[in-house]
Structure formats: structure tokens, C-alpha cells
């Protein structure tokens, strides 16, 4: 029998058992927010286990079908925190039909579980399982609003794009398996480096990466994201912007580690993809008039920035850059989406002209939104700026390292240009919310709900604290060390 | 198997000594050894099944059934063809005189009364019927459907063992092959239903596929449970696992190993009937609602292919039931003795026993068909998912527990509880499992009586004795 690393899977098992409990709660409780509460509790428990694992030094390369190293642990923490926050905020959304609300929370929990599985995958089977878990729950979350044409469009688009990506991934995986004779990603990596020149293997590996790129919204696999984010309930959009991306980033980091540990070609390709992605994301965001579309494209751009960090990945300090970037992204993006959701509860739309004058009706939400957007735009002293700074520094360091990767400096320039470019769409949202005066007709409705506000406050605070604390810590470290 | 394989090779060699290439010799030997016996057994039974069914239906409804068509028509035709120079009237007279002749008359009466002559008449009629492909259909799908139906009915037979030596291919994944190849039938029905571009066929096809896939699950679970019990997926080995060396060979049969097996057998039988769309589960044809369901647009022998596939499937169900629960081709008594016979005799006896078991299973199926009214589609679906699937799962785990318990107590082997009645302790496990399952059955029945929906009036009338008039 194959030894199963049960000890390493405890977070997944906790979340799975929690999902079963939530399923029972969905059947038995009439108050559907109980489902979200059970799910949030499971997330907290799993988070405790993961933190315990991290503190217990469960690093190293413990494989089977699952690998648990620093990357996995960081991704697990990110996914679990995001799932927890989303589950707390989700019952406040007024987009969900109350009778079916429980299933929504269940799917959200499933997305979190899928993220965990995906992030820790060490063989092709687990990788595909996690990918499909993320996808299937994602499809349900995207098309959740019943009798809504946009939601239907979002769900269908997500399914069609997702199915295509999944099929390509599967083709790639089957070729990888056939050519390398192993399901283990590390073994496949050895084969890849051994038969470095085999074009079939390279093509198969590229195909297998399509799924990861799809989840990470790397151009040209980002095309679905604006439509899906716009049509899906805002909480779903928030989930798509965070959970699959964190998990996929972990997978990408693992794959880089195993498949191309010191390949200049690979990091060049990744950097190019990153630059293209961020440019495409920022340029398309310029003309948008819907807050969720802008946020979706901002997610694409941020995926591009992240790719740059991955391009210098195996180098020392890059793990910190990637991790910190993801953490900051998690806080500010989640905050922005939750704020938009709360505004949307009142306006019933995320179009910019409908959001006009929000600050008069919902000052707290608008202010938090502003904070998160400013951070997303990369303006000091917020988390977004610090994250970009750390990122830029590691890219420049990589470029100056003198090992033939001077082109990273060009990427750094592209990053700077994009950072400036990306500010404009955010400014449009800010102007709509804070400057323009809206009509008072939309004043009615949209009660405040404390859990979602609490989540918003946590995100905003994290944005602020991360922005300020990291430089301080870094300074102190330089001072002391 | 070995001797069989040797003679197979010898035949292949003979073919190639006639100047054929080696591979063709192998294929021809395959035809002679695998396919011809298979078709020789299955086809006549599938054909006779229709007559069999009409006679049984008639008996159950106190009618006589097909009883008028004799062989005189065939004789007329034969004489006319044989003596083309004579006048038609003269030939006919000759044929009638021939029929009046003693032995021929006896044969005529036999074939008339049993309705077998009717089969020939039906065949001749059907072959003369126009094969219509309606103008609006999806030609490819419509034309492909009967091929798939027949393939889906015959391919599972490849792995069914008829004797120790006679088996098409003893695949190690036999049960999986049965499920996989049998699945072609669902595709065939879907193609027929969709491809016909007719509202009735569409409804019938959809219903049929929903029903087939639903009942696939309990059928599969039952097969899985038996595979677990016997420790193999190969049908030949499954039969071998049910061998009992004593005079009373039937003590080794799966059916009586555990009460869970009895329930599983019932579940399998019901679900299998539903999977091949026979009354009371024939919602897909439902002639009173859907004209003729998925095969409304099929005419003549194109429809006949579906009918033949259906009867072949009833035969398959009988064969599977025998293999899974009734010891396959083994005789109920004195199997030991039969096994010691020379291969040919052994094969003949075993094929006969297997066929007899199949016929009993088919007969019960027909009995059910002509007793019960049709269920509604919603009842059919609920029966599958809410009753049969949980029941099969309970039995599967009951069996697994019995195996665990048996092993715990016996510490040597598992299962085979009844087969080893000399040991004291396995008897306890055996008794315990009967007690457990018996209690469960009683509890189920009580619960069903207390909380279940009232029976449909038609069913109640059929299942309770009519009040007698004073």
C-alpha cells in the first residue's frame, strides 16, 4: 500500500469534516447563516492546525501526493484566512437568495478546500483534483444568482473557459505522464531537466501549466475574468480574486522549484508573461465603467506583478517578496471587494455612475474602499506600495546579480510604468465614490451589517499595518542584524 | 482452459494449413470457438424468448396465445420453390397432403401449439417490412443505434463462463467489462431517442437514459459486493469460488452464504430488470403514454434489432444472476462428479445447467412483467436512489462486516460460513449475520408499513386476496 501522509493532510481533513458538518447544518437549520458559521469555525480550526504545523517546524519536503513546505504553509494560511473572512462577510450580501444561501456558503467552503488541495499538490493527480475542486465550486459560485442574466453569463463563461483550460491541462498531464512515466511532479522535473531538449516534454509541460495560468489569470488566459467578476455575486468575485490565485501562485512556485530550478529560459518566459499580463490588465482597465470589472483587471495586473516575483523566485529573499505580496494583495483586494459589496447592497449595481455619491450614504464603507484602492494603486505608506517596493527590489537585485539576467532591469522599468498606469482606473472609482454627488433616490435600503463591516475593518487595518510595519521591521532587522 | 486453448490453436493451424495467413486462421478459429457457440446459444433463446413471453402472458391471462400458425405455409413455399415446373395450386395441394402425413402432422401440431412456428412467420413478415428512415432524422445517429444496441447486448456475453472450458475471454476485470459493454445500450437508446427527431422518442430516450444510469448504480454496487465476497472480478473465478466439494454442491453458492446476499440478489434482480427497461419499469417504451417510446420511428427489423437486444439482455441478466449468486454453471448437486468428466461432456452438461438457470431467471422476469402494472417515472427514480442504492450499500457493508467478523472468529479464512459448518465458531458469525439482517428486514418492513405512502390501488388489488363472496 502507498503510505498516505495523513498527518500532513490534517488541515484538509478538518476542512472536509467541517464541510460535511456544514452540509448537515444546511439540511437541518432554517437559519442559513449557521452554515457559514460552521464553515468559518472549521476554517479557524484548520488555521490553528496549520499554524501549529508551521511553528512545529513541519518544513522540509515531505512528499507523497502532498508536499508541505514553507510555500504550502504560507499558501494554506492565506487560503484559510481568506475563506474565513469571506465566510464571515458572505451572509451580509444581499445578492444571495435566502433559500439557497446555505449552498453558497458550502460552495465557498469547497473553494477553500480546493485551494488547500491545489496549493499542496505534489503529483499530477492531486494537482488536477485541486484544480477541478477549485473550478467546480467556482462555477457554482459564479452563476449563483438565480434568474439573473449576468450571473448566468458569468457562470457559463467560467464553465466554458474553465473546461477548455482543464482539458488542455489534462492533455498536457497525460503526455507528461506518458513521457516521464511518473505522476510525481518532482520526478517529472528530473525528467524535464534530463531530456532538456525534448520538445514534446516541453510542450506537455506548457499545456499542463494552462490550468495554473487560468487560475492565476495570466494573459491570455485572463479573458474570462472581467465578465465573470462582473456577473458573479461580489463575494464570489472576491473569492476568485483571492483563493485560486494564492493557491495557483503556490503551485507555480513549487513547479518552478521542481521543474526549472535554475533555468534562465523559464524565468525569462515568466517575466515576459508577467509584463504582458500587467500591461494588458492595466490598459484594458482604463476604459472600464464598472467597479467590479476594474477590480478584476486590477487582479490581472497584480498577477502580472506576482509573475515578476516568481521570475526571480529561487533566489534568496524572493520567497519573502512573493509571500508579502500575496498577503498585501489578500488584505487590500478582499477589503476593496467587501466594500464594493456593501455599497452594492444599497445601489444594486457596481456601475460607477450608480456608485456616485456613496460617501454621503455610507462614509465608513467608502473610506475603507478608498484606503484599499489607494493601496492597490501602490501609493505610500500602504501595503500595496510596500509590497511593490519589496518586489521591485528583489527584481532589481536579480537584474544586478550579474548572472546574465540583466533583462530583469527592463522588467523592473515595465513594472514602474505599469504602477503609474494602474492608478488611473482606481482614481475613477474614487472620484465616483468620493467626489461626485449622487442622486438621493438610491438612499433607501441597504442596512449596515456588522460582520461584513468587521471584515472590512480587518482588511483596511491590515492594509495600513502591513504598509507601515514591513519597512519598520526591515529597518529594525537591518539595524540589529 | 488449457485443453480448450490447445484445440483452439490446433484449429487455427488447420486453417492456416489450408493456405490462409496465420492471423486469419486465428480469427477464424476465434469465430468457431468463441462466437459461434455464443451466438448458437444466445440467438435462439433471444428469439424464442419472444414466443416464450407471449405464451406465458397468455397463460397468465387465461388465454392460449399463438396457436394457429403451423408449418403448412412454409411447406407450400418450399414445395413451390422445389418444383417450379408444377402449377401453384398443385404444389399447394401437395403441401397440404404432406402436412396430413403422420409424423409431419405431429411436428406441425407441436410447433403450432408451442407457437414456435409463429416465430418463423413473424420473421418472414418482418423481413418483408420496409425499412423506413424518416426524412427529419439525424441519419448517422438513427442508423447507428441498432448496431450499438446489439453490440451492447452481445459484448458482455464474452466474459460469461459457460463451463470450465467454454468462455469467450476470462478477463480479470470481467465485471467491469460487463458494466462497460452493457453501457452501450444506454447510448443506443439515447441515439435512437434523439436521432429520430420525434417528440415521443425524445421523451422515451431521455427517460430511458435517466433510468438506465440510475439503476446502473445499485447493479454496480451489488456486483461490487459479490466481487468483494469472492475476492475477484473475473467471472470464471467467481464461479470457482462458489465451488463446494460435498454432494450438496449448492451449499457453496453465494446466495445462501449470508442473508445480505439474499437481499443483494433481490436488489440486483430488480435493478437489472429496470436497467433493461422491462415492465414494471418500462417507462421508456410506455406504449400507453409514449406510443412506443424511444423506438417509435424504428420500423421492421430495425425495430426488431432492439427487440432482440432486449431479449438478449434478459438472458444476460439471467446469466449474470446465475454467476453472481447461483454458482454459475455448477450443478446444485454432485458438481464434484461432473468436474471429473471429460471436457466435452462436462461442457455440455454445464452449458445445459447454465441455460436452465438463465431460463428460470427469464421466466421469473416474465412472470413479474405480466403481474405488475407500470410504475410512474418518478416512482422509478425514487426506487433506485432512495431505496435500492442505500439497501445495496447496507448489504455491502454488512457483507464486509461479516467477512471481518468471520475472519476474527475463525482466524484462518473469511466467508464460507455455511460451507464449513464443522467449525463451531463461524456458525456464530453466520447466525449473527442472519439475525442482524433479519432484524433489519423486519424493521424496514414495519417502518415502510407505518410511514410509507399507501400502495397504488391497482397494486393493492393485485397483492391482496380478493374478498370471497359468501
Amino acid at each position: 500500500m502507498i503510505p498516505v501522509p495523513v498527518g500532513l493532510m490534517i488541515p484538509e481533513i478538518v476542512l472536509g469534516v467541517g464541510a460535511c458538518a456544514a452540509l448537515v447544518a444546511e439540511l437541518t437549520c432554517s437559519a442559513k447563516r449557521r452554515v457559514a458559521q460552521v464553515g468559518a469555525l472549521a476554517c479557524l480550526l484548520a488555521l490553528g492546525v496549520v499554524v501549529g504545523q508551521a511553528l512545529g517546524g513541519l518544513g522540509g519536503h515531505a512528499t507523497g501526493s502532498l508536499t508541505v513546505d514553507a510555500v504550502t504553509l504560507a499558501a494554506r494560511i492565506g487560503v484559510l484566512v481568506a475563506t474565513f473572512l469571506l465566510l464571515v462577510a458572505a451572509p451580509s450580501s444581499q445578492e444571495l437568495n435566502h433559500r439557497e444561501e446555505g449552498e453558497y456558503h458550502l460552495s465557498l467552503l469547497g473553494l477553500g478546500l480546493g485551494g488547500l488541495v491545489f496549493a499542496g499538490a505534489a503529483d499530477l493527480l492531486t494537482l488536477y483534483l485541486g484544480l477541478e475542486f477549485l473550478s467546480l465550486t467556482g462555477y457554482a459560485l459564479a452563476g449563483f444568482r438565480p434568474h439573473d442574466r449576468h450571473a448566468g453569463e458569468a457562470g457559463l463563461k467560467y464553465v466554458l473557459f474553465g473546461a477548455l483550460a482543464s482539458a488542455l491541462t489534462l492533455v498536457g498531464m497525460s503526455y507528461l505522464y506518458g513521457l516521464s512515466g511518473s505522476l510525481d511532479l518532482a520526478v517529472i522535473g528530473e525528467t524535464l531537466s534530463y531530456h532538456g531538449a525534448s520538445r514534446a516534454l516541453a510542450a506537455a509541460a506548457l499545456l499542463a501549466l494552462v490550468g495554473v495560468a487560468f487560475k492565476l489569470t495570466i494573459a491570455p488566459f485572463h479573458l474570462y475574468s472581467p465578465d465573470v467578476y462582473q456577473g458573479a455575486p461580489t463575494i464570489s468575485a472576491a473569492a476568485f480574486a483571492v483563493i485560486p490565485k494564492i493557491a495557483a501562485a503556490a503551485v507555480a512556485a513549487h513547479l518552478l522549484l521542481w521543474w526549472a530550478p535554475a533555468s534562465g529560459h523559464a524565468s525569462a518566459a515568466i517575466a515576459i508573461a508577467g509584463v504582458v499580463t500587467m500591461t494588458v490588465g492595466n490598459l484594458t482597465a482604463l476604459g472600464q465603467t464598472n467597479a467590479k470589472r476594474i477590480l478584476a483587471l486590477s487582479g490581472v495586473a497584480h498577477a502580472g506583478y506576482l509573475m515578476l516575483a516568481l521570475a526571480v523566485w529561487p533566489q534568496a529573499g524572493a520567497l519573502g517578496a512573493v509571500g508579502f505580496y500575496l498577503l498585501a494583495y489578500l488584505a487590500m483586494n478582499l477589503g476593496a471587494f467587501v466594500a464594493v459589496m456593501l455599497l452594492e447592497n444599497r445601489t444594486r449595481s457596481s456601475d460607477l455612475d450608480r456608485l456616485a455619491g456613496s460617501w454621503r450614504q455610507q462614509p465608513l464603507e467608502s473610506a475603507s474602499l478608498a484606503l484599499c484602492l489607494v493601496s492597490l494603486a501602490g501609493i505610500p505608506p500602504l501595503a500595496g506600495f510596500t509590497a511593490k517596493w519589496v518586489l521591485l527590489r528583489s527584481v532589481v537585485e536579480g537584474g544586478l546579480a550579474g548572472d546574465g539576467r540583466g533583462w530583469l532591469l527592463a522588467a523592473a522599468v515595465a513594472l514602474l510604468v505599469n504602477a503609474v498606469l494602474s492608478a488611473f482606473p482606481y482614481i475613477r472609482i474614487l472620484r465616483a465614490c468620493l467626489v461626485e454627488g449622487g442622486d438621493d433616490a438610491a438612499a433607501a435600503g441597504g442596512g449596515r451589517s456588522s460582520p461584513a463591516l468587521a471584515v472590512l475593518a480587518v482588511c483596511a487595518a491590515a492594509t495600513l499595518v502591513l504598509g507601515v510595519a514591513w519597512p519598520v521591521v526591515a529597518l529594525l532587522r537591518g539595524y540589529l542584524g | 482452459m488449457n485443453g480448450f486453448h490447445q484445440s483452439f490453436l490446433a484449429t487455427a493451424a488447420w486453417f492456416s494449413s489450408c493456405g490462409l495467413p496465420g492471423w486469419l486462421g486465428l480469427v477464424l478459429a476465434g469465430v468457431v470457438f468463441y462466437a459461434v457457440p455464443l451466438f448458437a446459444v444466445v440467438l435462439p433463446i433471444a428469439g424464442l424468448g419472444q414466443i416464450f413471453e407471449r405464451k406465458i402472458a397468455a397463460a397468465m391471462q387465461r388465454r392460449i396465445g399463438p396457436s394457429t400458425t403451423g408449418i403448412v405455409g412454409i411447406l407450400r413455399l418450399t414445395v413451390n420453390l422445389a418444383l417450379p415446373w408444377k402449377a401453384k395450386a398443385e404444389c399447394n395441394r401437395l403441401a397440404e397432403r404432406l402436412v396430413a402425413f403422420g409424423p409431419v402432422a405431429l411436428l406441425d401440431r407441436l410447433l403450432t401449439r408451442t407457437g414456435v412456428a409463429q416465430l418463423a412467420a413473424d420473421g418472414v413478415k418482418m423481413i418483408g417490412k420496409e425499412d423506413l428512415v424518416p426524412s427529419g432524422v439525424d441519419g448517422w445517429l438513427f442508423r447507428a443505434a441498432p448496431y450499438l444496441a446489439i453490440a451492447g447486448a452481445f459484448l458482455p456475453f464474452v466474459v460469461v463462463p459457460w463451463s470450465q472450458h467454454l468462455v469467450g475471454a476470462d478477463l480479470s476485470i470481467g465485471l467491469v467489462w460487463v458494466a462497460a459493454a452493457g453501457g452501450l445500450t444506454a447510448v443506443a437508446i439515447l441515439l435512437a431517442g434523439w436521432g429520430s427527431n420525434n417528440k415521443w422518442t425524445m421523451l422515451g430516450g431521455m427517460r430511458a437514459v435517466a433510468q438506465i444510469v440510475s439503476y446502473e448504480i445499485p447493479v454496480g454496487l451489488c456486483m461490487a459486493a459479490v466481487a468483494m465476497w469472492c475476492g475477484t472480478l473475473s467471472l470464471q473465478q467467481m464461479v470457482a469460488a462458489q465451488y463446494h466439494p460435498g454432494v450438496l454442491s449448492f451449499l457453496g453458492w453465494n446466495l445462501i452464504q449470508s442473508p445480505f446476499m439474499v437481499i443483494l440478489a433481490g436488489t440486483f434482480y430488480l435493478a437489472a430488470i429496470a436497467e433493461c427497461q422491462r415492465t414494471p419499469f418500462d417507462t421508456a417504451e410506455a406504449e400507453s403514454e409514449l406510443v412506443s417510446g424511444f423506438n417509435t420511428e424504428m420500423s421492421g427489423l430495425r425495430w426488431g434489432m432492439f427487440a432482440m437486444a432486449e431479449y438478449t439482455e434478459t438472458f444476460l441478466i439471467g446469466a449474470l444472476f446465475a454467476v453472481l449468486f447461483l454458482g454459475g454453471y455448477q450443478s446444485p448437486v454432485g458438481e464434484q462428479w461432473i468436474l471429473s468428466l471429460p471436457p466435452l461432456a462436462e461442457t455440455v452438461i454445464h452449458v445445459a445447467i447454465m441455460t436452465a438457470k438463465c431460463l428460470v431467471a427469464i421466466w421469473v422476469m416474465m412472470w413479474i412483467r405480466w403481474t405488475l402494472p407500470r410504475f410512474r417515472i418518478d416512482q422509478v427514480m425514487r426506487l433506485a436512489w432512495l431505496k435500492l442504492v442505500p439497501l445495496a450499500l447496507v448489504c455491502l457493508f454488512g457483507l464486509a462486516l461479516t467477512m471481518l467478523l468471520g475472519a476474527r472468529i475463525e482466524q484462518v479464512a473469511y466467508g464460507r460460513l455455511l460451507s464449513a459448518p464443522s467449525a463451531q465458531l463461524p456458525l456464530i458469525a453466520w447466525a449473527l449475520s442472519w439475525l442482524l439482517a433479519g432484524g433489519a428486514i423486519i424493521a424496514l418492513v414495519v417502518a415502510a408499513k407505518r410511514s410509507g405512502p399507501p400502495m397504488p390501488a391497482a397494486l393493492r388489488r393485485l397483492t391482496t386476496a380478493p374478498a370471497r363472496k359468501a
Partner: protein, 146 residues
């Protein structure tokens, strides 16, 4: 005893001789249908000279002229059943090859562990079945489900 060509062929097909039987039976089944349908064609069209007319080849709709194509949308319930089936079919595919190994596992002394693993797997699926049933996915009469 056999001629070398046959022996060579049989050793070459040793692992595949089972599939030879399948291929032969499948080909015969297909051939039988083709032959019968060809015979029908021969008897009706060549010998019998039956011709078709437009009204003969129209689809059957109780004698009326068919109204529109039948390729329309169908009830969503079939889709739900298909989904549930898919899940349970995958279960079967995973369970079928596993279960025959249960007996050897008992003999090797880890029967309880294997039993628990299979049980947990199936129980999780069963929970899904209960959920689907409670949500009314198998209640096909409309009165019980929205």
C-alpha cells in the same frame, strides 16, 4: 503440434487473445445487424420494389403533420440525475477494483483499517446522496419540489 506460423502468431497475441474474442464477437454482432438490414433492403427494395412516399417518411405525431423539430430543451431533472450518477459512477469505478482486495487485506491483518477507509469514502458520498434527496432532486412530481 501446431505449425510455427500459428505458434508465432499466438505468442505474439498472447496477452491479447482475450481481446481477440471480444473483437470477434463485436464484429459478428455488428456484421449480423448489417447483414439483416441488408437482407431487408434486398427483400423490400430489390425484390419487393416497395417505394417510399413523403407521407411515409414523415415522423409520427399521432397522425398529424409534425409541428416543429423535436430537438428542444428538456427537463432539468435529467441533468440533475446525470450529475448524481456521475458522482456515484466514479465511486463505483474507484470501489470496484478495491473491494476484491479486501479479503487479502483481512488475511494480511489490516482488514479493519481498509474497511474504515472504504466506509469513510462511501459514507461521504452517501451524505451527498442524502443531501440531494433532501433537496428534492429525486422527487419528480412537481408538487414536492419548487
Amino acid at each position: 503440434m501446431a505449425d510455427p506460423a500459428i505458434l508465432a502468431a499466438s505468442t505474439a497475441t498472447a496477452g491479447y487473445s482475450d481481446y481477440l474474442a471480444i473483437a470477434v464477437v463485436g464484429a459478428l454482432a455488428i456484421g449480423m445487424v448489417a447483414g439483416i438490414l441488408w437482407a431487408v433492403w434486398f427483400v423490400t427494395r430489390v425484390v419487393g420494389r416497395i417505394t417510399t412516399t413523403p407521407s411515409k417518411t414523415s415522423t409520427y405525431e399521432c397522425g398529424e403533420t409534425p409541428v416543429g423539430p423535436a430537438w428542444q430543451r428538456f427537463n432539468l431533472r435529467f441533468y440533475l440525475v446525470a450529475i448524481v450518477f456521475l458522482i456515484f459512477d466514479v465511486e463505483l469505478v474507484l470501489v470496484l477494483p478495491t473491494l476484491p482486495l479486501f479479503a487479502p487485506a483481512i488475511a494480511a491483518g489490516h482488514g479493519v483499517a481498509v474497511f474504515l477507509k472504504i466506509f469513510l469514502f462511501v459514507a461521504t458520498l452517501l451524505l451527498g446522496l442524502v443531501y440531494a434527496a433532501a433537496k428534492g432532486d429525486f422527487a419528480w412530481d412537481k408538487s414536492k419540489h419548487g
